[in-house]
Structures are given as C-alpha cells and as structure tokens.
Symmetry: C2
Subunit: 288 residues, 2 copies
DNA sequence: GATGATTACGGACGCCGTAAGCATA
DNA sequence: TATGCTTACGGCGTCCGTAATCATC
C-alpha cells in the first residue's frame, strides 16, 4: 500500500506539504492517505503541529521501512539491471577491512578503467540501506559477533553478504588505568566502565554480553575516540590493528566473551557483473 | 500490492482456480493479477500446466512471504487485541526448554483456570510463522548459536524474543566409533561424517562452521534418531540433557566451535496480557 | 493573517466480474 | 472433450486534484 510510502515520507520530512512535493502529490492527497491509514488502524499515527509520529506511528514506520526496503530489493532483483553504468557507488564503514578495500579498488580500476567509483563513508545502517535501495552497488560493513557467525545486518535473505575478515578485539585503556597491567581482559571486569563506542561496532552485541555503564561519547571519528581514551574519559573496544596504535593508551586482548570484529561485503543477491567482480577480488584476498 | 498475496496463494496451491476460491475472487481476477505482476516485472513468474514458480518467481515468493508476514505483524500490533480469548495456541519445538514449558503451563493454569491451551508441536519456521500470523500467542523455539547470541529467527525487529536457556552441545556417537574415547571433540574431526540432524537444530549454523558430509536422515523424532545413531548410521549433535541418555551410544562434549543450544520464546512485541504473564513465568525460571 | 492540515466534491483510472476464447491433458 | 488459464469488455469503486474550510503559530 502506497499509503505506507506516504506515511514514511511524512514522518521523515515532518511535513505533509514537503512529503506531497517529494512524492508528486498534492498535500490534500497525502492528508487523505494518512487519514486512510489512521482509520484502517483505528489509531492516531501522527501528531500534528508539529508533525511527529505517535508511539504507534513510530512502530508502524519501523515496519513500513522494512517492507518498502524489501519491495525495493525485490524490484531490483527482478528487473536485473544488465550492468551498472559508468558509475559505481561503494558504501564503506571506516573499520571494515580497509586493506581489502584498497586491493579491491585496484583490481576494479585495472579491469574497468573508465568506471568512476564513488566511495561513500557511512555507518552500517546507512550502507545497508543504500544497497537495498539500489543506490550503492555494494557495502563494506563491520560489526562485532561470535567467530564464524554472520553479522545479520539486514532482514533474513534480503541481501547477500560475504565474509571478508575476522580480527580479534582489543580493549583500549588509558595508561595508568587500574587494569592496564592485565594480559587479557574479560568484559565483566569493565561492566560499569564508561564506554566509548566506535560507530561501526555494533553495540548491541556488547550490551548483550552483559556490559553496561553510561556511554559518554558515541564517536564518529577514530582519532577523537582515541584522544578521549587517552584523556581518561573512558575505555573503547576496537578491532586489533594499526589504527589502534599510538601513545598514551594500551591495548589489551579481549578474552571473554569470545567475540571478533568481522567485516562483510553486502550486495544484492544478483549483483551487476562489475560488483560480482569486486566481490570475487575481495573474497580471494580474504583470509576466510 | 494485493497481487503479491494472490501470487503467493497461487504458488502455494499450484492452481489459479484454487487460489481464487481461497481469496474470494474469480479465476479471471487472479489471472489478471498474475499477468499484472509479470508485466510489471517483465519476467515470467509462473510456469503453467503444471503451475510452478519459475526461478524468478520463487525468489519473488520469498520476498513476498516476508513482506506479507510483516504486514500481518504490523496490523496485529496496531489493532492491539485487548487480550486473547478463551483459547491460547502455543507452538513448541521438541527440544526447546521442555522443563520450562511444563513450569510455565503450570503457572498459566493457576492464574487462568478457564483458559484452554493448545500446545502445537512444530518446527522453527512453522512456529515463527504462526506467531507472525497471529495464530499462535507464543512460540518456544530453539537452535544452535554462539553463547549469548540471539538465534535471529525472524526478520530484524519483527518479533520479540526472550532467551530461556543455553545448554552445551554433545556429539552423539555409536559405541565403538573410532572417536568414542575422546574426552571432547572438534567438529573438524567429524567433517565428513554422516550427520543425523535433529529437526529443531539449525543446520546452517553447523554448516557455517565448516562441517559437510552427506546427511543420511533428517529426523523428526528423537527416538528414531538415537536408534539410527546406535545402529551406526551416523552421528548426531544434540543439546546435553536427559533426552540424550540411553544405551548403545556415547555423548562427547563439543569443544570447538564454541556453540550452544539455545531456547527462546518468541512473541509479538505487544503480546496479550496472558502471553506476557507466560513469558514472565518462563523468564523468571530461566537461568539466563 | 499566513502557513499548513482537513474536508467536500467531481472526474479519471483501475480492478473485478461476466462471458467468450483457447490450450493442454 | 473437459478442465483450467487467458482475453475482451463493461460497471463500480477508489483515489487524486481542485477548492473551500479550519486550526494553529
């Protein structure tokens, strides 16, 4: 039902008028669509002036997003674009296998010299959404999970994902932290620590492992994050690697729970040949 | 798009006529709906005589199933049934926390003496589907996963699930099997073994761990499964517990990968009060 | 009083049913 | 030849746009 699309647009733009313009309708039509939805559900879905979803409306918006996302994907798969044009958008999360990305791009530039590649830095949700919407040809995403377990970023079977890398996790502590002499750490020991979260690390996996405590900063930038750790404002959890090097803090392997930082490449199930080629290049250079 | 519902019904019944009857349309209407879908996608979705989905049609059916499932859930959540009537259907997988189920039912019968409870044995997909369709009030499901990791049975955010139990896994070998003296086993050692799979154990998690080999029997019954193991026809992977006891075979703990058998209870996000009560009873008796 | 959501009403399009056509077992 | 899917066509309902109304900042 196209009412759902109208509803989502209204929620996003917080305006009937703006939504109508975007969808090519009159504001009257949008108003009727929302009224139709509210009558059908028997509940008020939007507060007016300002236009905001009610709790029920927010829940519906969640469902509607997923529904339309899957419709988009279904259409993309069925229309089966022969190949991407002269441009390819690639959404990447900052910590998702950056070394492999460089290799993959090199391969792609050699085999498709005329292809213009837009590398778009994004968080996981944005990257996955871009692939689902057909805006990006592929997404390099990452997250925390158990070894050999998929990240499960999109709805089941919605998108295809290929594992690229799994690296150990390290707890990053400021020098002089009470725990900084430990050879390895359990998350339990840091249960009430102030966590500084790298944006691309899926916090739910950690929260699920029983770690609580106030989050003092949701970093969008690794340098800032590390400087905050250095200043003693909190501790961070990062994939081991060169980006976690520097002065003023110490890296200690995470012992328990047995989690890893995993990178995957996410695409449609029937990607364009260029994208398939990229995936194969990435996969062949992966250690998994 | 109600075309999708028609399409799914046609696929399920393998007949335009039967689908039309079930949906309250004429066969002509259904034919037009399918034609509309095929024109819109530009691909043949069904073979006729016999009526079977083409590969593209099968893929669309997968998407359509999920889409309509989520629509059902959205409607259920929004209409917000005050409470279940005089009946409550509970779908349970055979190995999903059977001890907790017994406790939960006892609590429920005490607090709601007039409630008639239908306990419906089902596999995971069936159970989850029944909850999504509003046919069952809750489902007790199980599967194999890493410790503290959700099973991820439904699409993200579609249903609410609560962890009930996690128990170690044991490899069940016939007496005299070459490996039967090992104190613990890695799955690698059994890579090419003939596996006998308990239906409620999610095979993908095992396959993902790298275990292959032909599956000689997909059991629907634990006694049969164990007798097959006893007869030397294969090896099985089961949650540790009394159901895995008996003569003629031996249980050996699974050491690697670090997987557990996990049970969850799955419901709508806003279940009826009776169901909420059941969940609370289960949760409070759980060790998680 | 202006911006913006709602209500009233008329026209166009889409969708379903009836009925005829056609292919396959 | 019979079953069952497809095509043709007509009526009814749905949905959108225009325009007037109403509410809120």
């Amino acid at each position: 039902l196209r009412d759902l699309r109208a509803f989502l647009t209204v929620v996003r733009t917080a305006s009937f008028t703006a939504a109508a313009r975007e969808l090519g309708y009159t504001q009257s039509a949008v108003s009727q669509q929302i009224a139709s939805l509210e009558e059908e559900t028997g509940r008020r879905l939007l507060d007016r002036r300002p236009v905001r979803p009610t709790p029920a409306g927010a829940r519906l918006a969640e469902h509607a997003t997923r529904i339309l996302q899957r419709l988009d994907v279904a259409r993309s798969e069925l229309t089966g674009h022969a190949d991407v044009g002269s441009e390819l958008r690639l959404d990447v999360c900052p910590l998702a296998a950056p070394d492999l990305l460089a290799d993959g791009l090199r391969v792609l530039r050699r085999s498709h010299p005329m292809l213009q590649i837009f590398v778009h830095s994004a968080d996981v949700d944005e990257a996955v959404g871009a692939v689902a919407a057909g805006q990006a040809g592929a997404a390099l995403v990452d997250g925390i999970t158990a070894a050999d377990s998929p990240l499960g970023l999109a709805d089941a079977g919605l998108l295809a994902s290929t594992a690229l890398a799994e690296v150990p996790l390290v707890v990053v502590l400021p020098d002089g932290h009470p725990l900084h002499t430990q050879p390895a750490l359990d998350l339990d020991a840091l249960r009430d620590a102030p966590w500084i979260v790298a944006p691309s690390l899926s916090w739910p996996a950690i929260a699920n492992a029983g770690v609580g405590g106030p989050v003092v900063y949701q970093g969008s930038d690794l340098a800032t994050l590390l400087s905050l750790v250095r200043a003693g404002h909190g501790v961070a959890l990062l994939p081991d690697g060169p980006w976690a090097a520097g002065e003023g803090f110490i890296r200690i392997p995470l012992r328990h729970p047995a989690l890893v930082h995993r990178s995957e490449v996410v695409t449609l199930h029937n990607p364009a040949p260029v994208v398939e080629h990229l995936i194969e290049a990435l996969r062949s250079r992966s250690r998994l």
